[in-house]
Subunit: 393 residues, 2 copies
């Protein structure tokens, strides 16, 4: 056995927490087996089953309601799973017979697999893999035992264990350092592209990567531009411009997703123009209203509605959801804090639970402000202190 | 429109090449429409349709046999697709009606979608997305027009256009620089972990990322250790040890996957021990034999067999395939240069075509040697010069 690095040891304890959580959920749902069937890291749920997204071979990773776990992997992948699963079958030629043997012996009546029509965060099984698994199970008369694992995986993904919350907090802290770095260098004449490149350099120095496509992370936009997914421009910033930066980083596998707002003062100016200030204050207060509403038992639409109503009464509007979950990715699926409309479907109808982590971002026009919170027993806690005032440079 | 960066302009010309290639393949196959249906960058084929893997909204990207193309995306994603598709429908609430309208109007008899039971590189559609799409097409009586896009996507992925080959060559060149950097610092007393960390630092400096899970890329293994996916150890290297490094980088979206071998000489030694040298020479010559065999029209098994027979006659053996394709990922699916057995299925039965790019890696025991080649009209070309001698330090 190779020596355990600290990172490897942290991975093992985090995965032990997640397997224990999955076992409880299987028992709650009366499901006998949660089966992740993947190759080449294809399943988005792999970080929760295994903690790494690199498992090359065709693999079947099973967690049973009695708390036991079985991994079927090709021989060269055995070391990746051996410390995390009770039983490892390392095959050289075919996964099919060992999988059929394990399932025949344990005879699970309900086998949950990773697909979901609406939530990409738990829709990990590809259609080709589904056909392959279905064929193998049909051969032993088990094909009709397959069902969607959504009731289990949805909560495995959404409810963070203590080790996961600590990783997310760390990602947020690094993001705040990066925002401070921007404050240190920001001045008129710089372009959005300059700041974008500077942040990429700093992210390398901090040993973190972007939470979404690095072509769009960070999003750097002057107040002259509308919102949207557009690359940074090379137009110099001028005194009198606002600036918003949308930035998330992944540190040790967990993501942040924050936005901050600056204002470049004109000579003699000590504060931003009244209308810019009023827009910022409205967003800031809407975020606090959302945070005050967010607690176990409320629905996603209630939180959305609290923030949206406040924004609209102030004469502004926004069309996206008030917040989404963050986890191993910036957009982490699951319960949304959004309206109940055709665009978002029913994703906001569910109820908030302790351990969920959300963004709060009821933003519009020139204002970039987005906070990350974790739901606790009575309400929610900011992972890092929220921005309360525009940063004037 | 934001100013086009050079990277953006290169992306547009590469994607234009890929769309033209897809159109020819649709015509060859008599298929009317290739439909990529995805959300949140979920489809592995997105780099070929779009060149970026960040398209957040539920999207339908269609290429038709007449050469026209249509994208249906949510409004905020419109800028990502507008320069690449002839027709863009930006929706605010639902993708369903615009998709149904476009399909009804164009009335394609055969609609190819991205799933495959055996090749993960073209198995991009998730099972949940399949169910969602099937439901939407059933509403307009089109569900039975769906079929696997494998005959098209398999070649879109495997046959590289000139712009793609240039990007892969660049990734290989950077990898060679990184190997040279290792030669510059390697000495007894260093650990595998030291070299692993050093290469991560250098990869950051070169602005490239690992081609596979950075926990295992680079793979750094002393000759004392068996092959396999194991993390680097902290045991110091000693004079008399061999060292192999398995390293791939992604630069501008395209990957390399190379291996090199060093030997740490004992005092007074000018060359490695005879047995180590013989093992290296055997692999080196087997690679050249594979390269001499590799040309349009041969099967993957023929190339594998040529190298494997040579290795076995020399008294060695290896259990993996002789080579796999490289592209936007290190393990890129498609035709394999491997044996025709249960482990690899029928993946090596197809025939080699011009424009395919392979690794050649008939390695065993303490030797790390892996080259990357592109198939041309008569044979194949190394993307960078192969290693011919053990690097002694």
């Amino acid at each position: 056995m190779p020596e355990l690095t600290e990172a490897e040891s942290l991975r093992q304890s985090l995965i032990a927490e997640k397997h224990a959580q999955a076992t409880r959920l299987l028992q709650d749902q009366g499901v006998d087996c949660w089966l992740t069937f993947q190759r080449e890291g294809s399943d988005v749920l792999l970080p929760y089953v295994l903690g790494v997204d690199e498992l090359v071979s065709q693999s079947a990773l099973m967690i049973f309601a009695d708390g036991s776990s079985v991994a079927i992997v090709m021989d060269y992948d055995a070391t990746v799973v051996e410390s995390l699963f009770d039983e490892v079958h390392a095959y050289r030629s075919s996964w099919r017979e060992p999988l059929q043997t394990v399932l025949r012996e344990r005879n699970p009546a309900r086998i949950a697999i990773n697909y979901d029509m609406y939530d990409d965060g738990i829709d990990g099984l590809t259609h080709g893999q589904y056909l392959l698994l279905h064929q193998a199970l049909a051969e032993i008369g088990f094909a009709d035992r397959l069902e969607s694992a959504s009731p289990i995986t949805s909560l495995v993904r959404q409810i963070k264990t203590p080790a996961e919350v600590e990783r997310m907090r760390r990602a947020c802290e690094i993001t705040v350092h990066l925002f401070d770095d921007v404050t240190g260098i920001l001045k008129p004449g710089m372009t959005e592209f300059d700041i974008y490149e500077y942040l990429h350099d700093q992210m390398k120095a901090y040993n973190v990567r972007a939470s979404w496509d690095p072509a769009y992370c960070p999003g750097v936009m002057s107040s002259k531009r509308e919102s949207g997914h557009t690359p940074p421009t090379r137009t110099p910033l001028e005194p009198g411009d606002g600036l918003r930066v949308d930035l998330g980083v992944i540190a040790e596998g967990y993501a942040s997703d924050l936005m901050r707002t600056w204002y470049l003062a004109k000579p003699g100016e000590t504060q931003p123009p009244a209308e810019f200030q009023r827009a910022f204050d409205t967003v800031r207060d809407a975020i606090q209203i959302a945070a005050d509403t967010l607690r176990p038992g409320v629905s996603g639409t209630e939180v959305d509605s609290a923030a949206r109503t406040y924004i609209e009464r102030a004469g502004f509007e926004y069309f996206h959801a008030t917040g989404h979950q963050v986890g191993t990715r910036a957009h982490d699926g699951g319960l949304l804090l959004g309206p109940d409309n055709v665009r978002y479907g029913q994703r906001s109808r569910g109820t908030v639970q302790e351990g969920m982590t959300f963004t709060l971002e009821p933003v519009f026009g020139p204002i970039g402000l987005e906070e990350n919170v974790v739901v606790n027993a009575e309400g929610c806690t900011y992972l890092v202190p929220p921005q309360r005032e525009i940063w004037v440079v």
